[in-house]
């Protein structure tokens, strides 16, 4: 069987359920693939792993993939299992925030490590300086969890619909205590978990073929996971070697993730790509990317696969 190493963007969880399902249900094996799934973690940059030859394909968000491309690591999107964005900015209601205009003078917490681009783009679109002051917002880097919101260290924080949002509710805040801004609804969403490979590898037809089979099996996994969220969550749980995940949380996450993958057969919609690029380019003084990328995606693989 052909060996494929997949580098995830984060730790083993239902966010990556489709891949685990494909592996567990033998979809990869059916395609003659022997897939190793490497979870990520804080400060694991999937692009680096890819560039270092530690993986053949990675899961990453498009803003950071495009940024990497501009930095000289030519990664190419070969498939886009996530159709829509699960990213939100969640604020405590008591801060008085009701519209994006109210962010002025407030403290917003975000993850960094390539995950900050969507927020920065949004702020520059709103015309807010991120340096603080009366006309700006204070940006803070937050760790992996929602404590800054709970402990009132930040007025708003970024939260995924499938994870942090539920943690906030679990912690005892009710939806009534919160004001939620969805990137999707604000029209500034950027593409999330897509599959990327190194451009130079794509020149090899054998590699193309391998990736086509990989994408086909992965999408089969995703569609199975969408249809069987609870079982998919259990597969994820089995693959979690840390024993830290809870069934309740993973099942819920799988349910939410299923909503994000729902509209995709794996093929990247060029319109989504354009919107992402436009959002990123429009960021003011310190844009994520400075020029229109070229060749950042291909349908070659999905065309073959589907």
């Amino acid at each position: 069987a052909d060996k494929v190493t997949l580098q995830l963007k984060w730790v083993t969880q239902a966010q990556f359920g489709g891949y685990y399902v494909a592996k567990d249900k033998g979809f990869y094996e059916e395609e003659g693939l022997d897939v190793e799934i490497k979870p990520g973690g804080p400060d694991v940059a999937p692009v680096q792993v890819l560039a270092g030859g530690g993986a053949d394909v990675m899961v990453d968000w498009m803003p950071s993939a495009l940024a990497a491309r501009e930095k000289g690591v030519p990664v190419v999107n070969i498939a886009q299992p996530f159709k829509s964005s699960g990213l939100n900015l969640v604020c405590r209601k008591e801060t008085g925030i009701t519209t994006p205009e109210d962010f002025k003078g407030k403290t917003l917490g975000t993850w960094f490590y390539g995950n900050e681009y969507p927020l920065l783009s949004w702020m520059s679109k709103l015309g807010f300086s991120t340096e603080g002051g009366d006309d700006g917002v204070v940006i803070q880097k937050i760790g992996f969890n929602v404590d800054p919101l709970l402990q009132k260290q930040a007025d708003c924080i970024t939260a995924m619909t499938y994870n942090e949002y539920w943690q906030i509710l679990d912690a005892g805040l009710s939806p009534d205590d919160l004001v939620i801004f969805s990137y999707e609804k604000e029209g500034i969403s950027t593409l999330e978990d897509g599959l990327y490979v190194l451009e130079e590898n794509l020149e090899d037809p054998a590699f193309q073929d391998k990736m086509a089979r990989f994408v086909r099996a992965s999408m089969k996994g995703w569609k199975w996971a969408e249809a069987n969220t609870d079982e998919a969550a259990e597969i994820v749980l089995e693959n979690d070697m840390t024993g830290a995940q809870t069934e309740k949380h993973q099942k819920r996450m799988m349910g939410e993730v299923a909503k994000l993958t729902a509209g995709s057969n794996g093929e990247l919609d060029p319109a989504d790509y354009e919107r992402t690029v436009e959002t990123l380019l429009s960021a003011g003084s310190d844009p994520v990317i400075t020029k229109e990328p070229e060749g950042a995606w291909t349908h070659a693989i999905t065309d073959k696969a589907l």
Binding site: G172, M241, T242
Partner: protein, 285 residues
């Protein structure tokens, strides 16, 4: 045991302070919750609630104890939900890295003491190497090691080594230089060669320094293993528990992992103390 009573007293004091801290630090949340719900809450109502929160700022000791019981005693040690299992994973990387680190530290120290060129050229860079924030390069190191086909355990041990060799170098250099002029002159009169002076004088004289440094080194090694486990979370280990506990807001899991790692360190350090007593038996105390 002459230690039992004092240790028990100190632990009791810590627990009392801990409970007070838990009440004090968690109370704000209860007050906020009451305010959001629009109800009045009295202190008598707050206190019990502060000790039973799911995401406390500081969990009460018994909450951590329950978690520890669940993950240590109530799970088979082969379960991935067992803290013993994860502790063992961390311990093995720690010990391997500590062995590498001590060996590297001792070898460097010998070189530094033996060669003036080594001393002035290498020592500043050894120091500078420690100013490199390990967490920043740990993932990169692991990426590189992985590309070179180095497995998880060894990769983790390398990080441990990186952190633990330094205290050993510093302490060992000092120890190897601690013999006084008279003791060194004696060796000169025997025209002892470098190896003999080392084995029969410098090494025994350095032991108190070496073991003190090793106690620091083993703690550093543990930290290194845990840092590496955050990157290599798929292998489990206390680091992966810390990461996941933090990520999923499972405060009890964090504290249980913290306590487990403290207990590990707490077990390793006396072991080194015992080795020290063995190696230095007969010397005046």
């Amino acid at each position: 045991m002459s230690r039992a009573l004092p240790v028990a007293t100190v632990i009791a004091a810590i627990i009392v302070i801990w409970y007070l801290g838990a009440v004090w630090m968690n109370a704000q949340w209860e007050r906020d919750q009451a305010e959001r719900a629009g109800v009045e809450i009295t202190l008598a109502e707050i206190i019990p609630k502060t000790m039973a929160q799911e995401r406390p700022v500081l969990p009460a000791p018994h909450q951590v104890a329950v978690e520890l019981w669940d993950t240590v005693a109530a799970k088979p040690v082969t379960s991935k939900r067992s803290l013993v299992w994860h502790g063992w994973i961390t311990l093995s990387a720690t010990l391997l890295g500590f062995a590498f680190g001590t060996a590297l530290g001792v070898i460097l120290a010998i070189g530094i003491v033996a060669s003036r060129t080594m001393d002035i050229s290498v020592m500043p860079w050894v120091i500078a190497s420690q100013m490199v924030p390990i967490l920043a390069i740990a993932p990169m190191m692991i990426v590189v090691l992985n590309a070179a086909d180095v497995g998880g355990l060894v990769a983790k041990a390398m990080i441990s080594m990186y952190l633990s060799f330094f205290p050993v170098v510093v302490g060992m250099v000092k120890g190897l230089r601690s013999p006084d002029a008279l003791q060194l002159d004696l060796m000169r009169t025997y025209s002892a060669n470098g190896a003999q002076t080392f084995l029969k004088l410098r090494l025994p004289a350095s032991l108190p320094y070496l073991f003190t440094s090793m106690k620091v080194g083993v703690a550093a090694s543990l930290v290194g293993a845990i840092v590496a486990e955050m990157t290599l979370s798929q292998d489990g280990g206390l680091g992966s528990r810390l990461l996941n506990g933090s990520y999923y807001g499972q405060t009890m899991m964090i504290w249980a992992a913290l306590i487990a790692s403290a207990v590990l360190a707490g077990g390793l350090i006396p072991l080194i103390g015992a080795a020290q007593r063995l190696a230095m038996r007969g010397r005046p105390t």
